[in-house]
């Protein structure tokens, strides 16, 4: 993955005057501008990847929970978050990884689900209970035409978080963001 770092030498997105410290609320808003590298219509906050922000003295501690164990985007997301903080003048930060509780699609906000649908990805249906993991395949609505007349093509799609579906109404294939 090629990374493009800002090459600006004196330009800055610094938002807070030297010596002042933004509130965590302001930093949450800042991180809402960091898109998911694989599904750029949603950001890392509404996906539930950023779990906690806290000031520990002068250091901003950012707690992140990775989505899938092997998700190749995890490292990239950490770098993007770090870069966003640096650009805003918050170089004095520490990223911490928290594994438990494990990330779940239940943390994806309703607004993000709607953005996924508009982007052509069927959002996770229902909650990630044992039943939906082990039970019958969920009824997945086609993001193109809204039909529930769909079928699973493969349990695994273009990335670990998605399954491959096909709509039997409009005949379009689509990704389904599966529950975990």
């Amino acid at each position: 993955m090629v990374q493009q770092h800002d090459s600006n030498l004196i330009a800055t997105d610094r938002r807070w005057p030297e010596g002042t410290r933004p509130s965590t609320d302001e930093i949450w808003h800042l991180l809402e501008e960091v898109p998911d590298p694989e599904v750029p219509v949603v950001n890392v906050v509404e996906l539930g990847i950023v779990r906690e922000l806290a000031w520990n003295g002068d250091i901003l501690e950012v707690t992140l929970t990775p989505t899938y164990s092997g998700c190749p985007a995890t490292h990239f997301i950490e770098e993007e978050i770090g870069a966003a903080l640096n650009r805003a003048g918050l170089a004095n930060h520490r990223l911490k990884q928290r594994l438990a509780p494990a990330w779940t699609t239940d943390w994806i906000t309703d607004a993000a689900r709607e953005k996924l649908r508009a982007f052509g990805i069927a959002p996770p249906q229902g909650s990630a209970s044992k039943r939906s993991l082990l039970g019958e395949d969920p009824e997945v609505t086609c993001p193109q035409c809204g039909s529930t007349h769909t079928e699973q093509v493969s349990e695994f799609g273009s990335t670990a978080c998605k399954a491959l579906y096909r709509c039997k109404e409009c005949l379009e294939p689509f990704d389904y963001f599966k529950c975990i």
């Binding site: 164990s69 092997g70 594994l99 779940t104 695994f156 670990a160 975990i180």
Partner: protein, 253 residues
């Protein structure tokens, strides 16, 4: 054996099994029977590698010898590997791969489920995360065993052959040794007797639904992988997997 040594062994077994199976599965990339299967195999391999990284990072910390997860994965020799023998076996045909995957997934699923309640919080956290992913792995591989077993005459014959071939490597994951016993008593490791019962029930039900014959219960079982005694398959696999980091130490991109 101290508890720390047992824990190091235990973490290597989990991490190495994931790494080696992941490497095996990657050999299908470019060769899978269908695009969807290639995506699925690639995703399963990626999940396993991600889990392996978490296990090996912890193993490296427990060892405390200055090695990191990369050094453990890429700079150890064959005899130092602690993976189960089943995961190093060659891919064979698609039925062979799916039979191997299913028997491993069923064990992996119940193993991680048991480890979710480990007294070691880090183990419990890695297991809980992995369990979500392995749930999908098991669903897929058991579906393939049933589909091929209860399919055409040819697919049935191939799946039966595959089960018969790999069966001798399925016992090792259910047999405990000193490290297993020590960690079980410490409340850290899984109860393999319980995992064994769950595994057997799942396998018996799946093979019955697949119209396949389950090999005899007293079949001879190969062991040794967990202690570092491997089949000839592993050396060739490592030669390929470790080539780059050994030829170009510290390489990055």
């Amino acid at each position: 054996m101290t508890e720390q040594q047992a824990l190091f062994e235990y973490l290597l077994r989990l991490g190495d099994s994931g790494t080696i199976l992941s490497q095996r599965l990657c050999e299908w990339i470019g060769n899978a029977p269908a695009l969807e299967e290639e995506l699925a195999i690639g995703n399963v391999a990626l999940d396993l590698l991600g889990q392996a990284r978490a296990w090996l990072e912890y193993a490296a910390e427990v060892e405390g010898a200055g090695r990191d997860a990369d050094a453990l994965a890429f700079l150890r020799h064959e005899r130092e590997y602690r993976n189960l023998l089943i995961v190093e076996q060659a891919n064979g045909n698609f039925a062979d791969t799916m039979a191997r995957q299913y028997l491993f997934d069923a064990w992996h699923y119940f193993m991680l489920q048991a480890l979710c309640t480990s007294a070691d919080e880090r183990i419990a956290a890695i297991a809980a995360k992995g369990l979500k992913e392995v749930t999908y792995h098991l669903r897929r591989s058991s579906a393939w065993v049933k589909r091929l077993g209860d399919g055409t005459e040819e697919s049935h014959a191939k799946m039966q052959d595959a089960i018969d071939e790999i069966w001798t490597y399925s016992g090792e994951m259910l047999i405990g040794d000193e490290a297993d016993q020590l960690l079980l008593e410490a409340g850290i490791g899984a109860d393999l007797e319980q995992v064994k019962q769950q595994w057997q029930a799942h396998v018996t039900a799946t093979l019955a639904e697949a119209t396949l014959t389950q090999p005899a219960e007293d079949s001879y079982m190969q062991t040794g992988g967990k202690q570092g005694y491997h089949t000839e398959q592993l050396g060739f696999l490592l030669a390929e997997m470790q080539y780059l980091p050994r030829a170009y130490p510290g390489a990055s991109w």
